[in-house]
């Protein structure tokens, strides 16, 4: 396979034009940290964006940063930290799951729409992309959005590009909204009899004005491995609720929530370390099996897990107040059963994140789309990439 390194959108366009003429399919790659995500396809050519790096413009008081697509997340994080700002959706690092190193590039983060624990309260990567420039699979340059926070001019193609896994266009000059980092944070740790009780306790905590920023649920065994105090009674789950903000506010909110729910607190360093593990799915020791990511309504999560536990030996934990479940197992057919179970609930999806063997050959990693939604997806793909040149087949067959 040929590797072509490009350093700007003009060169990207040239590669795409050549590929159109020769009918060659192109893989879009930057650092490759998430290459294992999605369907496995073969391409004629790999276009490497990792040379397209650098921060073009960063105005902290405007809450706006514009960067080249291949800028490493380490560099982005450092620049933001210097101005005490952040990408509020918390970029996760899945290198642990993929046996890779490096935390990826901003282009990869946007293309995969991956977000961390704070997604629950402040939104996903898709909520922070303000604009971009790109070359479509037609070999044409176009832009959408802008470099300001509030903009409804024309279709919001930023939403479409986020999470499209490079199947529509090759982006550069990515503009994102930034936010000030919280001055400090802490966690409240509360026990619950079981998963269902944990979800309902969290609902209770969110029905107060005490503003938790994230909430996760760990089975007692995982909680113990993560270094949390061992449960005294017969509680099987541990709830972790994060509070962020200025110190006086956190102290006050922690007191209030503790009065309601009991439990004990974790100070900033321990709390931050725990949330990083939750964010990066490092609670599963060394994953040797498949890892699935399931998103559903929080209150559906307990019955989903119960159903699956009936037939499969699983290890799991939940984030997003129960609405995100990470599940690992060496059991066959887990994906089928997950999707079948979701269909009986109020909706959701199961994505195969880590494939430890050949699971992808037996089940599509992305949840299949039913017609007419599939047909619409294909028309959208064709509107940007009619010859299916860019990352074709990465998400769904033909898409």
């Amino acid at each position: 396979m040929t590797l072509v390194t490009v350093s700007n959108l003009d060169e990207v366009r040239e590669v795409v034009n050549d590929a159109m003429a020769d009918r060659r399919q192109v893989e879009i790659l930057a650092s490759g940290s998430k290459r294992a995500l999605g369907r496995r396809c073969s391409y004629d050519l790999t276009m490497d964006l990792s040379a397209m790096t650098g921060i073009i413009d960063y105005q902290p008081e405007e809450l706006v940063i514009t960067l080249r697509a291949g800028t490493p997340m380490l560099e982005v994080g450092a620049a933001l930290a210097q101005a005490r700002q952040m990408l509020a959706f918390e970029v996760p690092d899945y290198s642990h799951l993929f046996d890779t190193s490096g935390s990826g590039t901003i282009g990869g983060v946007v293309a995969t729409n991956l977000s961390g624990p704070r997604r629950l309260t402040v939104g996903a990567a898709r909520d922070y992309l303000l604009g971009f420039e790109a070359i479509s699979g037609r070999g044409e340059a176009f832009k959408s959005g802008g470099r300001v926070m509030k903009n409804v001019t024309g279709y919001d193609l930023s939403k479409l590009m986020t999470g499209s896994f490079g199947t529509l266009a090759v982006m550069d000059e990515i503009t994102l909204k930034t936010l000030p980092s919280p001055e400090t944070s802490c966690s409240l740790i509360v026990e619950a009899v079981d998963f269902a009780a944990a979800v309902s306790k969290i609902s209770g905590l969110f029905a107060t004005p005490h503003e938790p920023s994230s909430a996760a649920i760990l089975p007692a065994s995982l909680a113990k491995e993560a270094g949390l105090q061992e449960s005294s009674g017969n509680d099987s789950c541990v709830i972790v609720v994060r509070l962020e903000g200025i110190p006086i506010s956190i102290g006050n909110r922690l007191d209030n929530l503790q009065r309601l729910a009991g439990g004990y607190s974790l100070e900033a360093p321990a709390s931050e370390a725990l949330w990083a593990k939750i964010r990066d799915v490092k609670l599963f020791a060394t994953p040797v099996h498949d890892v699935w990511k399931i998103s559903c309504a929080p209150t559906d999560a307990p019955s989903l897990v119960k159903k699956i536990e009936h037939n499969h030996e699983i290890n799991y934990f939940a984030d997003w107040a129960g609405g995100l479940i990470w599940m690992t197992s060496d059991s066959n057919n887990l994906g089928h059963d997950l999707r079948a179970a979701l269909a009986t609930l109020s909706g959701g999806f199961a994505l195969l994140v880590r494939d430890s063997g050949t699971t992808r050959h037996t089940i599509p990693p992305f949840q299949p789309l039913a017609d007419p939604l599939l047909a619409l997806h294909k028309r959208v793909k064709a509107a940007f990439d009619p010859l299916a040149i860019l990352n074709a087949g990465r998400m769904h067959e033909g898409i």
Partner: protein, 495 residues
């Protein structure tokens, strides 16, 4: 404003079309007498009026689907309409199009406190969502000033914001799911009570698509707990430049207020005459900053903001010490539009966004344009996010003044783009800004947007004549030009 030439052959068939429509929806859901259609002939951009071919007010999603299917087959255009409060003419009827009103979709279907969301029909008003959940301490965050009237379906179509979207986001950031009907009559569900399905974010592109991609037939909205405390500061400045800088200083200090609004001298005085809110009449600029959250936090942040304002040269600072006082601070701002309506027979409300640091330049530009056109302008800004609402004062009874006001407005929007901003921050393009799109976008940008449109509506039947200055046929847009003459590649029509 030139609208697409109506298709006379459709208009000639009006009677038989109305008869057919009555078989698709209950007969009393079709409105076709000119007198009763008057109520639908414009939205809040009332300078433009047009009677539709017929008004259809369906009652079920299946009826919408049947209607769309038939219109598609018969080649008849459809204009969706919520509450008709659009300020950009998005819901302006067309003489050869069915106006599809969502007014009968007025029920809240589910309140789900445990998952913190509400499922509602699109015709429910924005404020009704908050009313339905406030007893349990919840509210729906996006709060356009039109919230007592505008519909949540219209909010999705326009991606509406409000004074609190600086901290809580626009509609798109508070929307979890939609059900929609395509021009082909297909009913699709996108999103739901879960987050971030691993598909193309079609709900994201539907949001803000101004009724051009599909009809929203149901919404699932995220609700939040009301903050424990809300307090506001009212800050006067003697010059707008320092005021603009102060706004940036607050954000640079790591504070994101719930809202941060600014008004200029003319707006301050009009509002004060109207509302007696205690605004400093001699100030050149007024900033309202609202902070919300736990009481201890708000009290600390109020002090920090006050210090920042004084350091930036504020000439007066007042801090609200009661809900009554906080509401009074807002009373002037919230009545700014009607207040300006009293000092001028007519006004045009513009809606561009600029990078916040360009605010002082923009003020200078606006006053020189004001001189050039001989028209006054009052300014109300969502300063926190750089969204401007200049109100251009004119008298429609004076020959030529409307045109002059429109030209003035176009120049302001041109300046917004020139300063690195955009044509519209929250009111939408509609017909009002349609012909200015090429200031911000290249032809290729606009063509790519229309290709997306073609994926949803291959015959341009849904709300045509809005948003895009030029309509290209989908077959033409889909054509490919393969470069370098490497292969004698035939042009491929895609759609």
């Amino acid at each position: 404003m030139l609208m697409p030439v109506p298709d006379q052959s459709v208009i000639d068939k009006r009677d038989s079309i109305c008869a057919k429509l009555k078989t698709l929806v209950p007969a009393d859901c079709v409105v076709h007498s000119p007198e009763s259609m008057r109520a639908f002939d414009a939205d809040a951009l009332s300078a433009y009026r047009q009677l539709p071919l017929a008004v259809v007010l369906p009652e079920t999603v299946e009826q919408i689907a049947e209607l769309m299917k038939w219109c598609k087959a018969a080649g008849i255009k459809v204009v969706p309409r919520g509450a008709g409060t659009s300020l950009s003419g998005g819901a302006l009827p067309l003489a050869d199009a069915v106006l599809l009103g969502l007014g009968k979709f007025n029920r809240i279907l589910e309140v789900d406190y445990d998952n913190r969301c509400v499922v509602a029909q699109p015709g429910v008003t924005n404020l009704a969502i908050t009313h339905a959940v406030q007893a349990a301490g919840f509210y729906y965050a996006p709060d356009p000033s039109s919230q007592i009237a505008c519909s949540v379906g219209g909010n999705v179509a326009e991606n509406s914001g409000g004074v609190h979207c600086l901290k809580y986001g626009l509609t798109t950031n508070n929307l979890l799911g939609i059900e929609m009907v395509t021009m082909d009559g297909e009913i699709l569900r996108l999103g739901g009570k879960h987050l971030d399905a691993g598909d193309y974010d079609l709900m994201g592109v539907m949001t803000g698509s101004e009724g051009l991609l599909g009809v929203v037939s149901e919404v699932t909205l995220r609700i939040l707990q009301k903050p424990a405390t809300q307090r506001a500061l009212l800050v006067g400045f003697d010059d707008t430049g320092s005021a603009g800088k102060a706004v940036g200083d607050v954000i640079a200090a790591g504070i994101i207020p719930a809202g941060m609004e600014m008004m200029d001298g003319l707006a301050i005085n009009a509002a004060e005459d109207f509302a007696n809110a205690g605004y400093p009449r001699s100030a050149a600029a007024l900033i309202i900053v609202e902070l919300d959250g736990p009481e201890v936090e708000v009290n600390v942040l109020i002090e920090r903001v006050e210090a920042i304002m004084l350091a930036a040269g504020a000439s007066s600072v007042k801090i609200s010490n009661s809900e009554e006082e906080r509401n009074l601070f807002w009373a002037g701002r919230k009545s700014a539009f009607p207040a300006v309506g009293r000092i001028s027979p007519d006004y045009l409300c513009m809606d561009g966004t600029i990078p916040r640091r360009r605010l002082p330049d923009m003020m200078v530009r606006m006053s020189s344009l004001s001189q050039k056109y001989g028209l006054r302008v009052a300014n109300v800004f969502h300063a926190g996010d750089g969204n401007l609402h200049p109100l251009i004062l004119f008298d429609a009874n004076q020959p030529g003044e409307l045109k002059r006001a429109e030209d003035f407005g176009a120049d302001i929007l041109r300046s917004c783009v020139e300063m690195g901003g955009v044509l519209t921050g929250e009111h939408g393009v509609g017909v009002e800004k349609r012909d200015l799109m090429d200031i911000q976008f290249t032809e290729e940008d606009l063509k790519q947007q229309q290709r997306l449109k073609c994926a949803f509506d291959s015959d341009h039947l849904l709300n045509p004549g809005k948003v895009f200055p030029q309509l290209h046929r989908c077959a033409e847009l889909g054509r490919l030009h393969v470069h370098k003459g490497k292969m004698p590649y035939p042009d491929i029509p895609r759609f």
